[in-house]
Homo-oligomer: 251 residues x 2
């Protein structure tokens, strides 16, 4: 489907190893990838030269390099949505004291491009750049709801893994849920991805009226119970505000 350069494929594979452990020895990378030691050494050295991998001076262990910070920042600046949404998200977070996420759809996954955390001691384990399956998250389902059914298959995995007792595992049931979201204008994640984790999500529309992003408030179910109404209000206003700033004009 596309021309591919082997060395880059391998280099990326090496970088991905660090998604599991953030410190690796050369030999560990060799074991994980299965390539020859000197091959890995060459790739790692090159990546190190460019700052994409750092090597600890004493332990010799490798880790992801700080150069990624520069690229990442560039990415976030090119997505002007982050600049627009960030202050509004902080405002929501300050008021409701729960984690606020901003995400977009990429294939079958949701990618979080901004996160504002509350000071609550019990917080969501999440991260900017992290991805989750779309079908079982609030943000994900809202994003899916913006896509016509005919085009949905590319964004839904063949098997919907049952991550909790409440996960939606049948496609037809998921379609029903998406219809509900389209009708209501927002969506939930009622402990479908992780037990005890509750989430309310609203869509953000771009200039063309496309559901380009989604914003959510998530927290432990026991806390979110009493905050649902507040979350609705804050998210509704917030999503409208952000959509407006993207040039969206409600019809």
């Amino acid at each position: 489907m596309a021309a591919r350069v082997q060395s880059i494929d391998r280099a990326v594979e090496i970088l991905d190893c660090f998604m599991q452990n953030n410190e690796l020895r050369l030999t560990e990378i060799v074991e994980m990838t299965g390539y020859h030691k000197s091959t890995v050494f060459g790739l790692v050295s090159t990546l190190k030269y460019h700052g994409l991998i750092d090597q600890d001076e004493t332990s010799q262990k490798y880790r992801l390099g700080i150069a990624f910070l520069g690229y990442s920042d560039r990415v976030r600046n090119s997505l002007d949505i982050v600049d627009i949404a960030s202050p509004i998200m902080r405002d929501i977070c300050d008021k409701i004291q729960e984690t606020v996420h901003l995400g977009l759809l990429r294939g079958k996954s949701v990618i979080y491009i901004e996160k504002i955390e509350s000071n609550q001691s019990i917080r969501i384990a999440s991260a900017v750049g992290m991805s989750n399956p779309a079908y079982c998250t609030g943000v994900g389902k809202v994003l899916l709801s913006g896509i016509p059914n005919a085009a949905l298959s590319a964004h839904i995995p063949a098997v919907l893994e049952k991550r909790t007792p409440k996960t939606i595992t049948s496609v037809s049931q998921l379609y029903d849920e998406l219809d509900t979201i389209r009708k209501d204008g927002f969506g939930y994640d009622r402990e479908e991805m992780e037990a005890g984790l509750y989430c309310v999500a609203f869509p953000i529309f771009d200039f063309y009226g496309k559901t380009a992003y989604a914003i959510s408030v998530s927290g432990p179910s026991f806390r979110m119970e009493g905050k649902k109404e507040q979350a609705f209000d804050l998210l509704r206003k917030g999503s409208q505000l952000i959509s407006a700033k993207l040039g969206y004009t409600a019809k």
Copy 2:
């Protein structure tokens, strides 16, 4: 000095092109790098496949990919200094209402690994992951002061570019300044990098007593004038607190 893989060198060179413009056509990349069109196409396709480059569906233009967010987040998590320092920096920022930076030294440059911005309308143009020359910034000079003179040459460029009328351009003068910083325990940037930009910086020591990071408050000179004392107090306490959390024990 190290084994190098050509394709990766070229791939990184392509990625670096996006540091100047955040949207590029294939042909523009070809012009910037000088490689053959199909060569660039292969590299770009591979990078795109891995999400390191995204392509706009309609305009076909390329930009840096969201995958960087994931790597970058991983980097920042592996640097536990960010977790430690971030809340303290926010506290300082709330109190003094100016931008707070956390940086480290890499070669001749300072790399900012965390930034907390105030709500002031006039703000510093800066970014996480961005780098500046060390010799003419507050954070940079403080970091340089932690290095013995004998080893300094590797961290100071041959020619000190005169970026403003107040930039230090003579090496011996810079050495004097570093001595002052070593004596005082903190440093300034008095409009040396950018006219009108004033900055106070303190060192952060790690477990081994090494000056590993530096933290700073920066803002326009006219505002910083009256806030110097407050900045000292906040930064002194903050840097001590962070150093302590890194395992540093003052002797």
